[in-house]
């Protein structure tokens, strides 16, 4: 349910930038990591509500769900979330499972399939990839 906070953070950041450079925004493209299992419906709904009275009032939000490439810093093996037990973690915690709130916690919950290490590097950040101005 923190998709509202996420939507707020996106609107706020882009609006701040838009006012600094003096533009209006038509389209915002953000990327989110698949492990977060975000509810894209709520995200869109929150965005459309929160964008009112901002420079993004007439903008569309496009969300790209990216499946991160995990890299084990011990043995170098690279893999994706298909080889990780995230479903199990999800069942144990339910909807607000830790990686939904904070995807950067992933190394605590997955092991390298080849050597079992938790020393896993991956880009798990939520990013504003593109902003199209009016």
């Amino acid at each position: 349910m923190h998709e509202y906070s996420l939507a707020f953070s996106i609107v706020q950041s882009v609006d701040k930038w838009a006012r600094e450079v003096g533009v209006y925004v038509k389209r915002v493209v953000v990327s989110v990591p698949s492990v977060a299992m975000l509810d894209l419906g709520i995200l869109q709904e929150a965005y459309d509500m929160l964008k009112r009275e901002s420079r993004l009032e007439n903008s569309k939000l496009e969300v790209k769900v990216k499946s991160p490439t995990f890299k084990c810093r011990r043995c170098g093996y690279t893999f994706t979330d298909r080889e990780t037990p995230l479903e199990e973690v999800r069942r144990k915690y339910g909807e607000e499972y830790p990686l939904h709130l904070i995807p950067e916690l992933t190394p605590t919950f997955i092991k390298c399939p080849r050597c079992g290490s938790n020393d896993i590097e991956a880009d798990l950040s939520i990013k504003v990839e593109e902003v199209e101005t009016a």
Binding site: M1, S9, I10, Q12, E96, V128
Partner: protein
Amino acid sequence: MRPILDLAREKLKGKRVFAVLSGKGGVGKSIVAAFWAMALPKSALIDLDLFNMSTVKLFGVEKLHEVDKEGIKPFEVDGVKFFSLGGIVGDRWVVLPGANEGNVAEALLAFADLTGVENVVVDMPPGTGEVLLTLVRVTPFTPIVVTTPSRAAVSVVRQLMDYLQEQSIIPEVLVINMAYLMCKGEKIHPFGWPKELEDLKSR
């Protein structure tokens, strides 16, 4: 554009932020942070020691944080609101690369629901690494510096004070914790009382 960082900054704008710091481990940061939050009105305690998660244990909480539109809801015990990673992962170990540690700390600050809160007390991990840099990145703060009289702690805390001074961040309080013990009416000092402690007090 860094949405989560901007959100964390936005959340703490206009609030009085204290950070309980030491550099040294096990000197009583978490205990002092808890007391400090209890003593302040409209306060909230945010536990950024991601590997110890002492706060949930100190307050005996064993459930997970609720989450709603406003973000992560605080636990509340004896009128003190607090947030801890322990309320997200539960009672299990947390192992993270350094870079992730800062991002997790930033996310806690960003998603904490601080509605109605005026004083924020941040319980910091030992060391002067990723989480200290994250806090300095997110918000101005008033340090509450904690030490024990032990020579090892005093020397680390002196170095922390040099760093804070260079960043013109001025500590308001120095807590000398675990200073003495009453033994049948007599004071004993388990960690000694080195003269370097006087220099710390004078700063």
